[in-house]
Symmetry: D2
Subunit: 438 residues, 4 copies
Amino acid sequence: MSSSTATHSAATTLLARYRAVRKATTQLCAPLSPEDLMVQSCPEASPVKWHLAHTTWFFETFVLREHVGAYKPFHPDFHWLFNSYYNSLGDMPEKKLRASFSRPSLDVILAYRAYVDAAIDRFLQQPVVSGAIQRITLGLHHEQQHQELIATDIKHALFTNPLHPAYMDTATGKKNDVIAPPLDWSRFSPGLTEVGFTPSPAANDVFAFDNETPRHSVYIAPFALANRLVTCAEYLAFIDQNGYTRPELWLSEGWTALHSENWQAPLYWQRDSETKSGWCIYTLHGFQPLEDLSETPVCHLSFFEADAYARWAGYRLPTEFEWEYAATHSVPAAGTEANLLESGNLHPTPASHASGLQQLYGDVWEWTQSGYTGYPGYKPLPGALGEYNGKFMSSQVVLRGGSCVTPATHIRPTYRNFFTPGTRWQFSGLRLAKDVIR
Amino acid sequence: MSSSTATHSAATTLLARYRAVRKATTQLCAPLSPEDLMVQSCPEASPVKWHLAHTTWFFETFVLREHVGAYKPFHPDFHWLFNSYYNSLGDMPEKKLRASFSRPSLDVILAYRAYVDAAIDRFLQQPVVSGAIQRITLGLHHEQQHQELIATDIKHALFTNPLHPAYMDTATGKKNDVIAPPLDWSRFSPGLTEVGFTPSPAANDVFAFDNETPRHSVYIAPFALANRLVTCAEYLAFIDQNGYTRPELWLSEGWTALHSENWQAPLYWQRDSETKSGWCIYTLHGFQPLEDLSETPVCHLSFFEADAYARWAGYRLPTEFEWEYAATHSVPAAGTEANLLESGNLHPTPASHASGLQQLYGDVWEWTQSGYTGYPGYKPLPGALGEYNGKFMSSQVVLRGGSCVTPATHIRPTYRNFFTPGTRWQFSGLRLAKDVIR
Amino acid sequence: MSSSTATHSAATTLLARYRAVRKATTQLCAPLSPEDLMVQSCPEASPVKWHLAHTTWFFETFVLREHVGAYKPFHPDFHWLFNSYYNSLGDMPEKKLRASFSRPSLDVILAYRAYVDAAIDRFLQQPVVSGAIQRITLGLHHEQQHQELIATDIKHALFTNPLHPAYMDTATGKKNDVIAPPLDWSRFSPGLTEVGFTPSPAANDVFAFDNETPRHSVYIAPFALANRLVTCAEYLAFIDQNGYTRPELWLSEGWTALHSENWQAPLYWQRDSETKSGWCIYTLHGFQPLEDLSETPVCHLSFFEADAYARWAGYRLPTEFEWEYAATHSVPAAGTEANLLESGNLHPTPASHASGLQQLYGDVWEWTQSGYTGYPGYKPLPGALGEYNGKFMSSQVVLRGGSCVTPATHIRPTYRNFFTPGTRWQFSGLRLAKDVIR
Amino acid sequence: MSSSTATHSAATTLLARYRAVRKATTQLCAPLSPEDLMVQSCPEASPVKWHLAHTTWFFETFVLREHVGAYKPFHPDFHWLFNSYYNSLGDMPEKKLRASFSRPSLDVILAYRAYVDAAIDRFLQQPVVSGAIQRITLGLHHEQQHQELIATDIKHALFTNPLHPAYMDTATGKKNDVIAPPLDWSRFSPGLTEVGFTPSPAANDVFAFDNETPRHSVYIAPFALANRLVTCAEYLAFIDQNGYTRPELWLSEGWTALHSENWQAPLYWQRDSETKSGWCIYTLHGFQPLEDLSETPVCHLSFFEADAYARWAGYRLPTEFEWEYAATHSVPAAGTEANLLESGNLHPTPASHASGLQQLYGDVWEWTQSGYTGYPGYKPLPGALGEYNGKFMSSQVVLRGGSCVTPATHIRPTYRNFFTPGTRWQFSGLRLAKDVIR
C-alpha cells in the first residue's frame, strides 16, 4: 500500500464517522417543518434547507467530483446553486436569494443527501488515497460547523416569527438548579510558549483547520483567568448600573453600533413586566423568565458588549493565546462535563462548584481581544479550499472554546472561531481576565 | 323585513359567489408547494401563504367579529398577526417579517380558511342585514385583489429563484398566432361628462370601491385613443433606438430610477444570445423567446417607462378620465373577449383585427397620466375600512382596465388601480393617446 | 421692423428690469460672508454662491451664447460647471458636490456676474429679436426663483449651524401686533370655468411658465375657502391633541415619513422650556418664542402635515383649480397688502380683520391636493428649456400663492409651484377648504 | 522646587517649540482661501477651519481650563462646539455638521488661536507643574497630527472640486529624477525582543502616546523586509495583470469594498488618454502623468489593496512588530533623508541607491498586517484624554513610519497609526515582507 493510500480500516472508521455526522444533521431538523427550513431571518443566517444542501455539495464538489472518476453529479445546476462563497469555483447566487429557493423542494434536497451519501459509502468501502481521507474529514468538520449554524439560524428564525414558537417545548438539561460559584482566578506564569496545532496521532487528534497552523512561539505575560463564565445575573447588574448609557465603557465603534441598532440588552432578552426580574429570555425552548436563567452564562453578546462589561467590571478580555495557554496548561475542573450539542441542553448551563477552570469548552463561545489574522508562516489550503478560512482575515475577532450547540468532536484547544465584533446571533459570551503584576 | 335586512335569496346568491371566489383562490395555489408559498422576493410582494391567511382574516375581522354575536375566533393571535395595514385595529407585524411565518403552518392556515368559510356559510343560511351583505361583498372583491397579487407575487418569487421554474409548464392560451393590427385611433369629442361609479342595480353592477365615488362632472378636451395596447415588438424598437439612454425622453424621477435600478428593458426581459431576437421573457410558463411574444402587449413596465415610450413615439398617456370616457362611450370591438384570469392564459395575448377599441379590459393594467387623489366630495368608508383606499392618495398613479390575472367579475369602467410610478412587478403596460386639435 | 424684433423701448424697459432683479439678488447676500455662501445643509439646498453663479450661467447659456454672435464666454468650464439639471446640454457635477466649490472664489463669481451683466447691458442697448426678449424675461423669472431659494437655503444653513445665528438681527415687519380674525368661509358656486394663463398685454401681464398653459376648461364643484391661512396657534392645538401620534389622520406615506424623520412639529420648531408656550421657532431673525408668533401663519409644513391638519380640523386642502378660481373670482380683502419679499419681513405675518379672502399671495406657499401634471395639450418649451418644468411632472404636489420670500413681480393667479410631498424647507403652509352641499 | 514643577528652562524650551508648531499649522493654510477652509469632502475629513479651531480647543480644554486658575475662555460655546469625540466632556456636534460652521468666521477662529497662544505664552513664562508640561507636549503632538490631516483633507477637498485646482502650483522636491533601486531584502534573525516605548531622557525622546506602551516582550520569527516601498510602476503591473478583477487575491471584505466603491486603481489615479501611460495622478501640485511618478512609492491604497498586491507579488505585509524590530535593529541607509512634511515635497519621492532599509520614515504610511489593539498591560490616560487612542481599538489596522506630510518631530520607531482597512484618503502604501525558512 502506498503511503498515500489509506488502509481499509481507516476508510471504514471514517465511514462510520461519516454516517454518524450526517445523521446528526438531519436529526437536528426533526422538530422542523419544510416551511421552517425556508426561513432566513437575518443577513448572517441561511435557511436550514440550504445548509442541508450546501453541506452535501461540499462532499460532491471536493470529494466525489475530484476522486471518483465516473461520478455523475446529482443535478447539473447544483454545483453553482449551492456554492456558498468559493469564487474560485465560479459565480454563485447572492446570499440573500437563498430564501427564494422553494425549489429544489425539501424532498429533492433529501434525495440529494441520500445520493451523495450512497456515493461516499461506496467510495469508502475500499482503500482510498489519503488526500480523499483528508477531504472527507474536512467535509465532516464543515458539516459540524453547519450543524451549529442550523441551531443558531433556526433560533433566530423562530424568534423573528411574531409568535415566537419554541424549537423544542421542553428543556432537556439542568438550568438554575445550582448557584454559580463565586468569581475566582487562576494565575498563569509568564514565558515563551508555543501555540497552534500539531497533529498528534497518538491522541487521535489529527484534524485542525489551516488557520490553527503553523504552531509557533509566543511570549505570554503573567495573567489570571476567571474560573467560570460571566452569568446573566452579573450581566444584569451591568445593565442596571447604566452599562448601556455610559460611553466611557464602550469602544467607539461599539457605541455607534449600540445606537444604530438600539441595543439595550443582549440579543433575545426582552423586558417583561410579568416576570419577577422584569426580563425574559428567548431560548430554543421558548421564552423563559430571566430569574430561571440567572446563574447560566450570559450569551448572544457582541464583542463590544463583552468588552464593555469587562471594562465596567474592572477587568479585560483574554487574548486568544492566553486562553489557549490556560486551556493547555491547567487541569480541568474535576467531575464536570462540557455542555456541548450532544448534551441536548441547547442553552448554557451554570458552572459547578468544582475547583479550577470550568466551562472552557461548550456553553458559549468566549470573545477574546485578539483580531483574527494568520499565524506566522500561515499557508491556506491549495485551490478553492484556500478560501475556507484565509480570506476572512480582516476586521474579525477570535472566539474560543465552543458553545452549547458545538458538536463534541468539533472543538479543541487550538480551535479559532471568528466573527465581526458586532455579531450577536451566535451563542457568544465572555470569561474575564486580568493582568498580574510581577 | 326591514330595509336593512337582505332577503334570503340575496344571502343565498352571495353564498354561491362566496364559495366560488374562495375556491378560486386555493385553486391558484394548486401548482405550488408549501415551500413556494413561503417566498417573499421583493418589498411589494407577500408570501402566498400570507395572502391565504389575510383574506380569511378580512372576513373574520369585518364580518364575523362584527356581525356574529357568539363568534369565537379561530386563534387569538391571528387578529393582529394577519392584519396588513389597518392602524385603527392596532399594531401589526412589519411587512418584511411575513417571510418568517413558517408557523402557523400551511395546514393551520387551510384549517383557518375552512373554519371561517363554515362560519360564513352558516351566517348566510339565513337573512342578514344589508351591512353584512356589503361587508362580505367587499371581502370578496378584496379576495379577488389578492388573487391577482398571488399571481404577480408568485411570478416574481419563481423568477427570483436562480433556477427560474415555471408556475405552469404549458401555456394554455393563444400567443403569437395572430399579428397585431396596425396602430389606429378612436377620436372623442369634447364635452362636460360624468365619471365615477353610480350603482345600477338593473345591471347587477352594484359594487364599487369608495375611491370610485362620488360620480362627478369633468370636462374632457378632444382626444384620440389608440385602438390597442403597445406591443413587445414596438417596445423593442424603443430599446433598440436607445430609449433607455436618452434623458430627454424621461421624467427626472424616472431617469434617476433607471440608473439606480439599472433598467435596460421591462422587468422579466433578459438578453439571451440563443434566441433569434436576442431576448427572452420570463412568464408564468417559464422563459420564452421574445420572437414568440412580439405581438403581445408589452408588460411589467413602470409608469416612467410607459411615459418615456409614449414621448418617444410622439404621443402621450391618456388621463384616467379620458380612458373612462372612452370605455363608456364606445362600442366594444366585435367578437373579442377580454383576456382575464379565467381565460387561463396568465399572460397578455395579441389584439385581434376587429375594428374599434380592443383590449380595454384584461391583458395589462394601463398606466394613465393621472395622479391618484380623491374625487370631489370623496368620503372614505367609516372605521378601519376607511384605510382601505384613502390613505394611499399621494405619490401614486392611476391604472385602468385590469390585466390577464384580474378576475372577470372584479373589473369595471370606473375601477381605479394605483401604484407608485416606479412599480414594475404588476402586469402593467400602456395604450397611447393624443390631443386632437379642434 | 419685423414682428420678431422688439422695439428699442421694449429693450430699454427690459434692461431696467434686468438691472433691478440682478441687483436684488446680490442685495440678499449683503448680510452674508463668503463662508456663509459656501454652506449646503440639506439635499434640497445649494450654496448661495452657487445660486449667484447659476443664475448668471442661465443668461450666458440661453441668451448670450445663442443671440450674441461674437460672445466670448467668461470661463470655458463654467458652461458645464454651473449647469443645474439640463441633460440636453451635457453632463454636470453632482448636486452634492456644489459644497466643494471653494474655487471659483466669490470674487470670481462676482466678476462673472459683472461680465455677463455688462454683456446683457450692451445687448439691450439696441433693438433685439423677440425671442431674446422672451429668454431674458424667462431668465429674470428664473433669477427670482433663485432669490427665493437663497432665502430658504440660507435659512436652513444658518439653522443647521449649532450656534443658530440670525440672517438679520432685527425683524423689520409686524408680527403679533394683531390677532388673526376668526376662521370664516368664502363660498363659490359650481360651474365650468377656464384656468391657466393667457397673455394679456393690456395688463402688462405677459409672462408665465410653460406649465401654466394652455388655458383650458375645468368643471368646479361648489366649495368654500377659508378667509385666511392656518395659524401657529391653531397648529399648536393639533400638536397638543396628539396630531403627530394618531395614524388615522395621516396618509400612509406621510405616516412613514413622520417616523423615519421623527417629525413632532413643523421644521424649525423646537421645544424650549424657557418660553411660556414651551416652544420656540427659528426665523431668519433668529429664534423667537412661539407665543410671539402664534397669530402668524404656520409654515415649513410638508404636504403630509398640511393634509393631516386639515383632516383633523374636519376640512380638506383645496385643489389647485379651486384656489385659482377663488383668486380670480373674488374681490381682494380691502386695505391689505401681500407680505412678499419686498416687505422685508422675511416671515409670515398675521391676517388683518378686513373682510374677504386674505393672504392669497405671499406669507406661505399653500399646499393644494393636486398632483403636478401637464395641462391638456401641454407643450414644454423647445430645446433644453423644455427641461425647466416638464420633467418634474411625477410625484410632486402643486402649491399656490407665493410666500414671504417670493418677489412681488414673480407671483400671479396661475403660478404653479411644486415640491415632493415631504418637503419642509420651503415657507409652506395651508388654507382650509370644504365641500358645499348643494 | 518640587519634583512636579518643571524648571524655568524646560518651560522656555517648550514655549519655543509651542510657537514653532502653532506657526507651522497656519503656514500650511497660506495657499488657501477662507472658502477653501470650509470644504468637507468625505466622511473621514474635516474642514481646515475646523482643524484650526479644534487644535486650539485642545490647549484651552486640557491646559488652560485645568492649570490656569483665572483663565477666561475665549467664547462660552466653543467648549462643546469644537469638541471632536470626547464623550466624557459632554455632547458635541455631529461630525458632518462641521461643514456648516460658516460662523464662527475665519477671523474669529484666528483671533481664538491668538488668544489661546497668548495665554499659553504667559503661562510658560514661569515655572509650571510637570503635568502641564506633559499636557502641552501632548497638545503639540495632537496639533501635528492635525497638520497631517490638514494636508490630507485639503488634498481630498481640492480633488473633489470638479476643476481640480492644485494646492501649490509647483512641486518643490525631486520626483522621478532617479530610478528606484531593485527590490532587495534585509533578513532578520528570530528571537525574543522588546517592543513599545520607553522614555529615554538622554535622547530627548521623552514623548509617546499611551498606545505605544507598555514596552513588552514579543517573539519574532525569522523574516525579511524589502529595502524600499512598492512603486507606482510596480503597482501598475498589478493593475495591468488584472489585479482588481481576480477575487483570489483579495480578502473577502476587500472584494466587497472593491465592488461597492468601484475601485479600479488607487485613490487619485485617473485614466487619461493624453498621457503616455494612460494614467494621471492627482497630487497637491495638481494632476501629473503617471510616467512622471512611476518610480515614486504608490500611495492612497487601502489595506485591502496593499494586502492584495503583496499576495499577487508572492509576499506579504509585515507585522507591526517586525517593522519596529527592523527599524530599531538595522543601520539606516547612508546619505538618505526622510521625505517628511518639512521637505516640502508633499508627495512621496523615489528611493535612492544607498544600501540598507530605505524610506522607513516619511513618504507613505506603511500598512502592516497587525490589528490595532492594546499592548499587554495597556492603560489609557486618565480622564477624558483616555478617549484619545484607546476607544478605537477594534476593526482598525496599524500603519507605521509616517508619510510625506508627517512633521519630522512627530514620528518615531514605536509610533502606531491606525485606520480602518478600507481607508484610502491618507498617504498610505506598503513595503513587502516574507518569511525566512530556517
